[in-house]
């Protein structure tokens, strides 16, 4: 592998909802332009980890957090959440399209961040849709309500919407759990193409998807990091028995 530059680093990260702690002492480094997979059974804290990175967990009032997260060597405590979430975008499990047109869904992000000018915005929208491999399918129907798109198209629309605000990191929270295999393949293709310019973190329940798409993988179990390694190595020769049990399908 080439020289790796750390973009996100967590130090002693503990995340709790009330008295229930779902992440315990997580120390991870995430490298620039990699696709990092996070696998593990349900309730192991995958989503919480992801949402901790752009402070989305704070929408839940019982949430509390210890430890620190660094983004580009700066503690995210010192970064305003709007700037942080713009830099670290997120794709949710179910496509969360807004109840407006396809065009406006993508244009929404740039608009709230102060981009003006009709031509500029339509250029941004077109580029984002192209990067998400959706442009050819929707270019003639940009003014239709976004909810009319198929599930896979909606998910790629969400990716385009995230890309439109020019993030550095894209978080995926089980992005294909509601999609059929063909749509899944299209989303995965898009992820591969985006590797050039973005760091991507993929939370998935589907170990096969993690093996297909990611370069490095983290195995989380009950809020603890059990194993981190290059995906090929982790899947062929896991160091920990629990990892082995999980990826071979003995539990989870």
């Amino acid at each position: 592998m080439v020289k790796q530059e750390t973009i996100i680093k967590t130090v002693g990260l503990n995340c709790c909802y009330g008295s229930l702690c779902v992440l315990k002492d997580v120390n991870l480094e995430i490298y620039k332009n990699e696709i990092l997979g996070i696998i593990g059974p349900a309730n192991s804290g995958k989503t919480t980890f992801l949402r901790a990175l752009n402070k989305l967990n704070y929408l839940n009032s019982s949430y509390s957090q210890k430890g620190d997260i660094y983004f580009s060597n700066e503690s995210i405590k010192n970064i305003g959440e709007n700037i942080l979430r713009r830099k670290i975008g997120i794709i949710f499990a179910l496509p969360q399209v807004l109840p407006v047109s396809i065009f406006d869904n993508v244009a929404y992000g740039p608009k709230v961040h102060g981009v003006t000018g009709k031509n500029t915005i339509s250029q941004v929208v077109e580029n984002a849709l192209k990067k998400a491999y959706l442009w050819d399918e929707v270019k003639d129907r940009l003014n239709e309500p976004a909810v009319r798109l198929s599930g896979g198209q909606q998910q790629r629309l969400c990716i385009a919407r995230t890309l439109a605000v020019e993030p550095d990191v894209i978080l995926y929270d089980e992005p294909c759990s509601g999609l059929d295999p063909i749509s899944t393949a299209k989303v995965e293709d898009a992820m591969q193409q985006l590797k050039e310019s973005y760091t991507q973190i993929l939370v998935t329940n589907n170990t096969k998807q993690a093996a297909r798409v990611t370069e490095r993988c983290v195995f989380l179990l009950m809020g603890e990091v059990i194993e981190v390694g290059e995906t090929d190595a982790l899947f062929t020769e896991p160091q920990d028995k629990r990892t082995d049990d999980y990826i071979t399908g003995r539990f989870g």
Binding site: L56, L59, G89, F92, L94, Q96, L98, P99, Y108, T162
Partner: protein, 289 residues
């Protein structure tokens, strides 16, 4: 065997009650219509609808409802202009901004607001609000359209706030997360995403508020001055459709022209409220989809 009969009886009782409600509404309308049609045998309908004078005891009497209709419209528009921005903003605050405990306090306070009898509000209008407005705007009398509008706005607020709040809370959480995920601020999310998504519920709330205002009688009778003239502005005394019926019904002879004219006013009022409720209903249904 006994159980089956029992079941049948209960079933038909429920069916009967349901049917009765429909029949009653229908009968009310029929009753109103029958008596008001008697008027149009003696008095031309065009002069009733477009007449500019309401002089029921002059000789010959004039029953033009334009001044009353305008009175109702002035007071209603005034009330809506005041209470809609207030109500929607309050609903936004309760649904999105207020912390948990404040939310509960506000919601129960609003319910108390809804339970204030209208005659009490009218009283406040006479002894305090009217004189206050008279002094503030230098009017001849404080008993004017604006006094009525303000008090009616106060009465419609609970309806508008609680229905608006339901509509805002009903917006899927995913919209909010999606907007936050893109780095939008709370205010941007509220303004550009949540408010538009809740718009049909908000329109329904406003329509029901209007329905409440236009049908209200006691307050407007007490504070608007009851002058059946075409008002030049909302700062002048005026009289609404409802206040006319309530105020004059006691003085008329049953079966006289005047008596029938009041029924005709009732029909006009019935049609207006019916239309407003219809629009509100359509909006509510669209909101549920």
């Amino acid at each position: 065997m006994f159980r089956r009969i029992n079941e049948k009886i209960i079933e038909s009782c429920i069916k009967l009650s349901g049917l009765l409600v429909i029949i009653f509404v229908f009968l009310i309308f029929l009753f109103l219509l029958k008596d008001s049609i008697s008027l149009f045998g003696q008095y031309p309908i065009g002069q009733f609808l477009f007449g500019r004078n309401w002089l029921p005891i002059s000789e010959p009497p004039k029953f033009g409802i334009v001044p009353l209709l305008l009175g109702s419209i002035y007071v209603t528009i005034g009330a809506i202009v005041i209470c809609v921005p207030f109500g929607v903003a309050a609903a936004m605050f309760i649904a999105e901004v207020a912390p948990g405990y404040l939310k509960h306090v506000l919601k129960s306070l609003i319910e108390i607001l809804a339970s204030i009898p209208s005659v009490v509000l009218g009283f406040i209008g006479i002894v305090w609000l009217g004189p206050f407005l008279r002094n503030t705007f230098g009017l001849k009398t404080g008993m004017c359209g604006l006094t009525g509008s303000l008090l009616l706005a106060f009465m419609a607020l609970p309806t508008i706030i609680s229905i608006c709040e339901d509509a805002l809370v009903g917006v899927p959480r995913t919209y909010k997360e999606a907007a936050f995920g893109l780095g939008a601020t709370h205010w941007q999310t509220l303004w550009r995403i949540i408010l538009p998504a809740a718009s049909s519920g908000i329109i329904a709330a406003v329509m029901l508020g209007i329905g409440r205002v236009i049908g209200e009688t006691m307050v407007v009778m007490m504070v608007t001055g009851n002058a059946p003239v075409i008002p030049k502005s909302i700062l002048e005394p005026l009289r609404t459709l409802t206040a006319t019926i309530a105020g004059e019904m006691g003085e008329t002879v049953g079966g006289s022209e005047h008596y029938f004219a009041l029924f005709a006013v009732g029909v006009v009022l019935f049609i207006i409220t019916f239309m407003i409720n219809l629009v509100a209903d359509v909006c509510m249904r669209r909101a549920k989809k």
